[in-house]
């Protein structure tokens, strides 16, 4: 969805930032958004990261960011706990991405 939405909206981005926090995602406000996600999922204080997001994308953007992170906390659990399979077609389309970013190490659905 990231690659698709960026392509469709002509938004430059660096996909490596998804798995490497030292990489600038290029997307406006991206580094701040990633810091917020990292802080809250690590159980750390979020005040500084949230303020960075607010300065970068505004108050409404900060609220949206909290919503997106919350939603994927929910959907990740649903996918993991139901053993949601990733289709062969999706794997094939994203084979290069999976290899480049090392996503295969997340795949525990075969167990």
């Amino acid at each position: 969805m990231l690659s698709w939405s960026a392509r469709e909206t002509d938004t430059p981005f660096d996909l490596r930032a998804v798995t490497d926090p030292t990489v600038d995602p290029i997307i406006p406000g991206g580094k701040m958004l990633l810091e917020l996600a990292g802080a809250v999922l690590a159980g750390e204080a979020t005040a500084n990261a949230a303020e960075g997001v607010r300065l970068a994308v505004g108050e409404a953007g900060l609220v949206d960011a909290a919503g997106v992170i919350g939603n994927f906390q929910m959907m990740n659990r649903v996918a993991d706990a139901t053993g949601m399979p990733v289709g062969a077609g999706s794997r094939l389309r994203n084979a290069e991405l999976i290899e480049d970013l090392g996503f295969d190490r997340f795949d525990h659905l075969g167990d």
Partner: protein
């Protein structure tokens, strides 16, 4: 920090809490709030509460705090040892929504919402008889799909979708790459991808 809370989010959270507190297909309102409390305890490294069944506590805490550790064999065990598929799916829905709402508040440095008071009543027993075992680990209606993940227990699937829209996008809005609210779509998807990567969720 003051946050401009969108009214649809305020309503969604209130509705979500009412849903957690209501009798479900398998669990009473009291049991559902206990499951929610256990999910919170697990994420804050607390010990299981004294009133919760150990198997229920194990399932709630694992889904809440260690979702990437879940394997088919574990699901089969907790289902087989007493939760049953409807009980497991219902528990999963409760835990997933509580984690979502809590994470939202934690992002913004807000106090967590107090868990709701249980709503009296007997479990409804309502499941969808069309759900069938398939490629996923729990029965679903119409084959394995993330939008149908909790469809064995229709109430849980509906509650999930009601929260999914305000937090992120409705399933209809997801097809619009130009959708913008406070964030552009690529900004939203960057967060989605990073959250999933940290959670080690390939899906």
């Amino acid at each position: 920090m003051t946050n401009e809370m969108r009214s649809d989010l305020t309503v969604a959270f209130q509705d979500a809490w009412k849903g957690v507190a209501s009798p479900g297909a398998v669990w009473t309102g009291r049991e559902r709030v206990e499951i929610a409390a256990e999910a919170r305890r697990a994420r804050s490294n607390g010990h299981a509460g004294p009133d919760i069944d150990p198997l229920v506590a194990e399932a709630a805490s694992t889904v809440a705090a260690h979702p990437a550790s879940i394997r088919r064999r574990w699901v089969e065990r907790v289902v087989g040892e007493g939760l049953g598929h409807p009980g497991y799916v219902e528990l999963l829905g409760i835990v997933a929504r509580v984690v979502a709402v809590d994470t939202f508040h934690q992002c913004l440095g807000m106090d967590l919402m107090a868990l709701p008071e249980p709503i009296a009543g007997r479990p409804t027993g309502i499941t969808d008889g069309r759900a069938r075992a398939g490629k996923a680990w729990v029965p679903m209606v119409g084959g394995a799909s993330i939008t149908q993940a909790l469809s064995l227990v229709p109430f849980e699937n509906a509650e999930l979708e009601l929260l999914h829209g305000p937090l992120y996008l409705t399933f209809e809005q997801m097809s619009d790459p130009g959708f913008t609210r406070g964030l552009t779509r690529p900004q939203m998807e960057l967060l989605a991808a990073r959250t999933s990567a940290i959670n080690e969720c390939f899906y």
